[in-house]
């Protein structure tokens, strides 16, 4: 009875994942081998049964097309590059934040954590849209700088890659701060004292004790920022302008502008395969940590 109970508890999330992750994935995977056609749905069926002949049409042309047109390779590379540097940016800002929160006394700690999480309670879209108002030519930053006379004419901030970095770092910062915080707050203070006691000045203690011991938090936070950033659509669309090439945008264009669902599906599948590399790495590391 208890075994049945335990199984049914585990079954719920698995059924959920099966229905809402695996099934959609299979559908997308299937479409990626179809051909585009002007109909509803806008793609051919893989399996046809006409006149007692069963034909399976597997079209790998979509994938071939991705290799053939350098736009896709460029978009993938550019996405990975932007996600990578945005992750580093989030880490550089997030780590000191997490450190300060973890070192604060218990009461302020909760208030500070709340402040990190509070922005996520409003719509993602609205927050990104707010950045448009801040970064545009007659926006908050440019108007501010011009009114105190530092610049004469507005500097282009919106529709640049910089704006995309700002957007990603801003939006995903809590995902960096929280895992690192959880890690640092567990750090035994007597380890830092032991290090000082053995002759290590504070900056060196940070490098030899604190940093290595928070590695798990750094990796978890970086993955949580990097993986969704690669496929990010809203931020490059709203802040990045025409020149910023990211795979999320390409995907959108294939789906909604070109209505080429098979190619769009192929783009999505390749992106997933690309992300599988850091995800496996992360998973490996985590299970190794659990063993230790």
């Amino acid at each position: 009875m208890s075994k049945l109970g335990a199984r049914s508890v585990i079954a719920v999330p698995y059924i959920w994942l099966l229905l809402f992750f695996l099934v959609p994935f299979i559908i997308v995977f299937k479409i990626s081998f179809a051909e585009m056609q002007y109909s509803i749905p806008p793609y051919t069926e893989l399996v046809e049964f006409v006149d007692e002949v069963l034909t399976i049409n597997l079209n790998i042309g979509n994938y071939y097309y991705l290799i053939d047109d350098s736009l896709y390779a460029k978009a993938y590379l550019s996405s990975v590059r932007i996600a990578f540097f945005a992750t580093i940016g989030a880490l550089l800002i997030g780590y000191p934040m997490a450190y300060a929160i973890a070192r604060a006394d218990a009461n302020t700690r909760n208030a500070l954590l709340m402040m990190v999480m509070l922005p996520s309670w409003t719509s993602f879209l609205i927050r990104i849209y707010a950045w448009v108002g801040i970064l545009k030519n007659n926006g908050l930053i440019n108007n501010g700088l011009m009114s105190i006379g530092i610049i004469d004419e507005p500097i282009a901030l919106l529709n640049t890659e910089l704006a995309v970095y700002i957007g990603i770092v801003y939006a995903y910062l809590p995902f960096m701060v929280l895992p690192i915080y959880t890690n640092l707050v567990k750090l035994d203070n007597s380890l830092l004292e032991a290090s000082a006691d053995l002759g290590c000045p504070p900056w060196k203690t940070f490098l030899t004790v604190t940093l290595p011991l928070s590695k798990a938090g750094i990796i978890a936070g970086s993955m949580l920022v990097f993986i969704p950033s690669v496929g990010e659509f809203v931020i490059p669309e709203m802040l990045g302008g025409a020149e910023t090439l990211m795979i999320g945008k390409v995907l959108w264009q294939e789906f909604f502008n070109n209505r080429d669902w098979p190619v769009a599906s192929a783009v999505a599948i390749v992106m997933l395969l690309l992300l599988l590399v850091p995800i496996t790495f992360f998973h490996r590391y985590q299970s190794r940590e659990l063993e230790a």
């Binding site: 004292e193 032991a194 290090s195 000082a196 006691d197 053995l198 002759g199 030899t208």
Partner: protein, 366 residues
Amino acid sequence: MSDAAPSPMLEIRNVTKRFGQLSAVKNVSLSISKGEIFALLGGSGCGKTTLLRMMSGFETPSEGAILIDGEDVSQVPPYKRQVNMMFQSYALFPHMTVEQNVAFGLKQDKLPKAEIDAQVEGMLKLVHMTEYAKRKPNQLSGGQRQRVALARSLAKKPKVLLLDEPMGALDKKLRGQMQLELVDIIESVGVTCVMVTHDQEEAMTMANRVSIMHLGEIMQVGSPSEIYEFPNSRHTAEFIGSVNIFDATVQHVGTESSQLSSEDLDCVLQVEGGINALEGAHVGVAVRPEKIYMSRSKPEQGENWALGKVHDIAYLGGHSVYHVRLPSGKVVMATTTNVDRHEQRLTWEDDVYLYWSASSSVVLYQ
């Protein structure tokens, strides 16, 4: 502190530590000589840990000075002091092997690698941990971790070794064994050692000198036997071992012996020598339970006896503790060694005479 050497290794001069309104340590002075094992003993919140943390540099004294080998280190940060601590939790670095843990302090001194390796090897040999050099702390038992922590804190050859509740994380059986082993190692190295503990047995087993702390002050400093046999206050007498204290009034002060009276006793209380109090003063007279004899017949001596009923018996195997209730209602403890297995022992509600010699009693003034 008349027994301290002329130039002490560690000197605490009128040190006070305040945390806001609270004084954790109040005007403490101590002098610890080279090679000594010194114990700070007291209950929780007595200020012993704060005092230790000031020695290591994790706290700065509000007033007074701390001198190590004649040099004032009160304002010197921990990483510049020639003092190393073995932490209660051991605080071994979980991401480093045993070897790397022991080498950690030596690396900070930028010694050549060969020298570090040799030193680490020697230290691991000293604590019998050579074959565990490549293990991580979480692969070690509690006793093994303690050995590594000791090796790490000794590796830099500190002038003073600090031990914070050294047996606090070990189970009872391992404690007795590690206490003696730790002392052997510390003595073989010859390092001056200050330990903090709340366990009187541990302090008395390990230390040459013990100081009793209470409410931020040092109550008494002395060898374990001095503190046990000649406590100078009720607090010390009660903290170390068990004791019977009679509230008494001084009747006569003599040179050979002095007499007191107590409401709990029908006879006169006699103590050896004089008393530093006027006749009529109220003092305490302490007698340890093992110094009280029990008998079914009336003792011959005219003083220092009482008649009571056995109220409770705690059989502890090697010896038994009898709780005897006097007519006044006071309960007096007396211990007997269980030498004979078949002897006719006293039992509950038996009438029993208690008696002790004048030389067994100690007068407590405060």
